[in-house]
Amino acid sequence: MEKQRQAILLADAESFYASVEITHNPSLRGKPVAVCGDPALRHGLVLAASKEAKAYGVKTGQPAWECRRLCPGVIFVRPHMNRYLESALEMTRIFEQFTDRVVPYSIDEHFLDLSGCERLWGTPHEAARRILRQVWDETGIRCRIGLGENPLQAKMACDRFAKKRVDGFFELNSTNYAAHVWSLPIGNLFGVGPRMKDHFNRMAVRTIGDLARLPREIPTRRWGVNGLLLWLNAHGIDYSTLQPGTLAPQKGVGHCATLPRDYASRQEIEAVLLELTEEACFRARTLGKMGTTVHVYCRGADFDHPSGFSRQKKLPEPASAATEVYPVAQQLFRRHWDGRPVRAVGLNLSGLTDRRCYQLSLFNHREITNSLSAAMDEIRERFGPTALFRAASLTSGGQLFTRANMIGGHEK
């Protein structure tokens, strides 16, 4: 029997945050809109721009002032992360009407496996058109779809071609991949960032085709498995599937907080570190996990002279209580902080293991810490994340109350 051809789709929502804002305020349609944190603050960065704003050169990640200079008539809209999550879930629900093999890739990108669905939805091209129309009709958001025989081809088809086409659709397959992709600059290949692009350029590899035509041993010898992977990408080969388990189980929990101003005092930074520890431990507990390693990250305030550190340490034993994790985090911070002002602090708990199964210890009464944590979780569950907090959150450094109103570092 001939092996069935895979039909993998990548659906991407156009200017996702901006599109959602426009659906909530139709008067914005057709105008240059930028979703942006408080333009007066330094984390006032552009999170998304409508296609009218993009026409002026506005890009994601630009500071608000630069955006206004490029496009004086721009309309700034503050982010509403709750709305975006809702819209994303709504889109997932629509995709799931077409196939049960839907894998969210980011907040506005989903992989869909439509292999073997021809009798239901027609050719993948026809199915894609139906999906685009249904998403538009039901959510008012314009999507683009890349079709390929594997996730890589779908992603390349979407990012490099479908986004530029009026019908928002493009197909790559093993037959046409080289013809379409090889002439593109190497930086356009999935997996090649600015640093990798420089490396390739120094090897006189300027286009994706240049890489594809190299013997595979050259990138493999230089970068190991990653080099081989990029070479395969250049040929449109991707062995990954969308089966469950494609997305590795969560390895760690944690957050990074950009501070409202530069913190120079140890007390202030440690107050944030403690809050982040509480948050990471809470998330680990919700997943039914404990962490074995804590990772602390600090970024210095001075852009021109990058400073800061990123260090990790194994915990004496797996833990999911802040009282056990924080001393180690604090120790890491005190050992590695150079005393210069800090702009962002991050903490991550990794090496997650099952929380219900643990080695009992002679001098650590985990039952007591466990029931204390459970009680704290219950209070926060019922009365909100700020119902119970550590006194450090009331000090000048505390960020708990600001962060409680945010999702992913942006306003709810």
């Binding site: 074995t292 194994k314 915990l315 004496p316 034993e317 797996p318 293991t353 219900r356 199964c357 643990y358 080695q359 009992l360 210890s361 002679l362 001098f363 650590n364 985990r366």
Partner: protein, 368 residues
């Protein structure tokens, strides 16, 4: 200075002092072996500041010698072709000429002024004990393995020695398990004293105690514990950490007691351990009338095996780290072991039928 030595005895001495030789040290002098002579003996010494080792060799000569020899000397002596070694030190340029059979070396020595002086301590009145090397070895082998090798809790990197009148007791633990061992000897007369000896120094000591039967003298001195045997002076710097009180962790009454053939259970557990995985190497032990069942189930598969036992008390089943059990079964040599259980989450205590002053306590794994 010029002398002729047997290759075997010189190599053995160097192998001993190598235990305290740091691979890398901020004080460069420490990466060498100090060779010194006094009136009638030659000594080799090393230190990593935590451990000091000194070995003496017979020597006849009156020139005083003091020179640092590169650590490579151990391997050089080891691979020499002939059974005899001739050493010549040139006091003017500190070069050491080594010759044995066809092989000739010329090593560049260095002045010993940066090397810390090792003052040999001697026991103060009534503070020393003597024990045969084989007995000491047996004791340490059944105790030291339970100490932690993780650096997160420094106190547990040590073995606690307690001396009290005629009793010497040792406690070692990594917080999940604990060994408690006492030895009595009417000849010992200690004043009450405790010291926390780095387990690492004791593990190294075990490696060099393996030769013929010797008398070992052991005594604390200021911040060190000193072992003296044959021509060896072995001083371990004590850990300055607070060791927790363990009196409350050993329960008085057991709910279940079994006796099992050590060799049999050892083989069973090592078969089960093949499937035990994860951080905890968990296996399940179930005791019911007259038999002990060992079970494992993991992502690879399942195994089950039953061993005959003598059993009194309640039936029980619990999860436990298989590695912790293997450690005791490997370290001991008795025909049988006695195991006491104290409920599903209470400690499991291993005892040796012929030694009432030894116990090994392991806490089980909790499965909620």
């Amino acid at each position: 200075m010029s002398l002729i030595l047997s290759k075997a005895s010189l190599y053995r001495s160097l192998d001993i002092v190598e235990k305290a030789l740091p691979k890398e040290s901020p004080i460069q002098a420490l990466e060498n072996v100090l060779l010194e002579s006094d009136s009638n003996q030659l000594t080799l010494s090393t230190t990593n500041l935590e451990l000091q080792v000194k070995v003496s060799l017979p020597y006849e000569g009156d020139e005083p010698v003091s020179v640092l020899i590169p650590a490579k000397i151990t391997d050089i002596i080891r691979f020499l072709p002939a059974p005899e070694v001739k050493l010549d030190l040139n006091p003017d340029n500190l070069q050491i000429a080594i010759s044995s059979g066809r092989a000739k070396y010329n090593l560049f020595g260095a002045a010993s002024s940066d090397f810390p002086r090792i003052e040999e301590a001697s026991p103060s009145h009534g503070e020393s004990m003597t024990i045969s090397s084989s007995e000491l070895k047996d004791i340490l082998r059944t105790v030291v393995f339970a100490a932690s090798t993780e650096e997160t809790r420094p106190a547990f990197n040590g073995v606690l020695f307690e001396f009290d009148a005629h009793r010497w007791s040792l406690i070692s633990s990594d917080t999940y398990r604990l060994v408690f061992k006492s030895i009595f000897n009417e000849a010992w007369r200690f004043q009450n004293n405790r010291c926390l000896v780095p387990a690492k120094a004791l593990r190294e000591l075990l490696k060099i105690l393996d030769q013929e039967e010797e008398e070992v003298t052991l005594f604390p001195s200021k911040d060190q514990l000193i072992f003296k045997f044959a021509s060896v002076y072995y001083a371990a710097r004590l850990l300055n950490e607070k060791y927790p009180d363990i009196s409350s962790v050993i329960p008085e009454r057991h709910s279940t007691r079994i006796m099992v053939n050590r060799k049999e259970i050892k083989e069973t557990i090592s078969r089960a351990a093949l499937l035990a995985e994860g951080l905890n190497n968990a296996i399940c032990l179930s005791v019911s009338d007259g038999s002990l069942t060992v079970r494992v189930s993991s992502q690879i598969g399942r195994m089950e095996e039953t061993v005959a036992i003598e059993h009194e008390g309640e039936e029980i089943d619990l999860y436990i780290n298989s590695r912790f059990i293997m450690d005791i079964l490997k370290a001991t040599t008795t025909e049988a072991v006695v195991v006491d259980f104290h409920g599903k989450t209470g400690p499991v205590i291993f005892r040796l039928p012929d030694d009432e002053h030894y116990l090994y306590l392991v806490l089980p794994i909790k499965m909620d």
